[in-house]
């Protein structure tokens, strides 16, 4: 598996670009022409070849650049990666999970050699070759969770399972959609979701929690979530909101196709063995409107979803002010033809857009 890794930025000059391969495998999250919350969980057991679902931890062309951006965020603000003291064991569980998964799924890129508790980990794309003793933090340059999440795309929330609830007791959060690990660490499932409108009344979180509490070793699950971001900015944190918030006002009808990005989270859930904790990786994929419109089904569907989205959701997802401009752009691609159910682009069967 040879991947050409991009040299690109997710800030300042924003040189981020998706190749055709990246666009085709982008996880468009809408399976129908409207959107409402649901507990849309399914088993995380592979997927179509080449898709983002195929491997346990997907690696793509953005890997090296994303890890570079993470390192910058952490240098600037170490509080984005925290682990309460009792979570170190879970950190080791996560390190093992990622190292085993990646070395098996991408043998050309990652190697793991184990001799009892003496481990050697080789990460070719990042130029890392480290030998350490498993369960001994003094032999690693960082705590185990920080060490491995500096080498894996997406955010990671490590949840302690106690008292029929899940507690956000550790995490590395540098690509989040606007929530603060430093503030939320220590909260339980309902508390950290408190600001989400509508979902609590619908009982979404009660059902989701029951499902998550029963996830077992060897049987991970996944679902998709989404929001909107202006510019391919990964670090849309509350901490820096006073710096990036104003970018939302720089959209114009001329630049919206390039600047407005659909931001999709592939959320996966793995039970961790020694700690009985649950890890919740949140993998972020970005695609701008121009690129999305190259898939006819997505072109038709996105307009309808955004047009009919309840106001509370558009507000909570932060794009209520830009919605009119978004609809002006998107409506040009909606020719009113029917769309097939499901998220896949279906280039062979869906008629091209008349633009």
């Amino acid at each position: 598996m040879t991947i050409q890794f991009n040299e690109e930025t997710f800030r300042d000059d924003y040189t981020f670009k998706n190749s055709d391969w990246a666009i085709q495998r982008f996880p468009f999250p809408f399976h129908e022409d409207s959107y409402m919350y649901s507990v849309n969980m399914e088993q995380h057991r592979g997927g179509p070849e080449g898709s983002i679902y195929e491997k346990r931890f997907d690696v793509d062309e953005h890997y090296v650049a994303e890890m570079r951006d993470r390192a910058m965020v952490l240098a600037d603000d170490p509080l984005r990666c925290q682990s309460l003291p009792h979570m170190t064991l879970a950190g080791w569980d996560l390190l093992e999970l990622i190292m085993v998964s990646k070395s098996e799924d991408y043998p050309d890129l990652f190697e793991l050699h184990r001799d009892g508790d003496q481990w050697r980990w080789v990460n070719k794309p990042l130029g890392i070759d480290d030998t350490f003793t498993f369960l001994d933090e003094t032999t690693l340059p960082y705590g185990p969770m920080e060490y491995i999440t500096r080498q894996a795309q997406g955010d990671f929330c490590v949840l302690d399972q106690r008292d029929d609830n899940l507690w956000m007791d550790a995490g590395t959060v540098t690509t989040q959609a606007d929530w603060s690990l430093d503030f939320d660490i220590g909260m339980n499932f309902f508390e950290w979701h408190a600001p989400v409108p509508l979902a609590h009344e619908k009982g979404i979180f009660v059902r989701a929690l029951k499902f998550l509490l029963n996830i077992q070793q060897g049987a991970p699950a996944r679902r998709l979530n989404w929001t909107m971001t202006v510019n391919p900015l990964l670090d849309t944190s509350p901490e820096n909101y006073h710096k990036w918030g104003v970018q939302k006002t720089t959209l114009t009808p001329e630049n919206i196709g390039q600047k407005q990005h659909l931001r999709v989270e592939l959320q996966t859930f793995f039970r961790l063995p020694r700690s009985n904790a649950l890890v919740f990786p949140i993998r972020c994929y970005l695609c701008n409107f121009d690129d999305l419109m190259t898939m006819p089904k997505w072109g038709r569907r996105l307009h309808r979803v955004i047009r009919d989205l309840p106001e509370e959701l558009a507000t909570y997802k932060g794009f209520i002010d830009n919605r009119p401009m978004m609809l002006d752009y998107l409506s040009k691609f909606d020719d009113g033809l029917p769309t097939s159910p499901g998220i896949w682009p279906e280039r062979e069967t869906e008629p091209a857009l008349n633009t």
Partner: protein
């Protein structure tokens, strides 16, 4: 009577209760200002025989009435900060037969609660009752500084000077509510401040 009726809010906003006597050999009671009235309301001779009261008066003068309850131990501190090390020491050697009661402002209860949870007591086991001021401890999500006694929305962060709006999202670990920049998307456009509960 200084009880405020808090409006219903999101799941991460603390909901305070009403103190009641509980089974235990020791009763640690920590209060500030009007919180003393909650202790006066719940006190019984049995409770007081095993009680350690720590009170921060803030000029309300309830000290004498609390002393008259004849608790096993009584301490009056000039501020929460001055009392914190004493609270930690008492919790350090406490047994599971200890019950904890907190009363007064959200700021006092939040900080004392944190000492309890650090010592290993589940937060749901610590009794609370709000009395008196409804001003909040606010953490600025941008600079992480805490601004005390905030009663208006928006307010100015006492550390970095940003204009922040007041959220109901609350962190037990920080014992503070979250403040977020109010004019990020339109710099300079700061709404006029109103009382938080107006």
């Amino acid at each position: 009577m200084s009880k405020f009726e808090f409006p219903e809010s999101i799941r991460s906003r603390p909901v305070w209760g009403t103190l009641e006597p509980r089974a235990g050999l020791h009763h640690l009671m920590i209060a500030d200002a009007e919180g003393a009235e909650a202790i006066l309301d719940v006190a019984t001779p049995e409770l007081m025989a095993g009680a350690h009261i720590i009170f921060i008066s803030k000029g309300t003068g309830f000290g004498d009435k609390l002393r008259e309850l004849n608790p096993a131990q009584y301490y009056e501190g000039p501020s929460y900060e001055a009392s914190a090390s004493r609270i930690r020491r008492v919790l350090q050697d406490a047994k599971m037969s200890t019950q904890v009661y907190l009363a007064g402002t959200e700021g006092l209860m939040g900080q004392a609660m944190r000492e309890c949870t650090n010592a290993g007591i589940p937060y749901t086991a610590v009794q609370t009752e709000h009395r008196g001021s409804t001003a909040r401890r606010m953490q600025c999500v941008h600079c992480k500084g805490i601004t005390e006694d905030v009663a208006i929305d928006p307010f100015v962060c006492s550390h970095c000077g940003l204009n922040l709006f007041v959220r109901d999202h609350y962190s037990r670990r920080l014992a503070a509510y979250q403040g977020v920049c109010v004019d990020a998307e339109d710099p300079g456009n700061v709404p006029k401040s109103v009382g938080i509960y107006e």
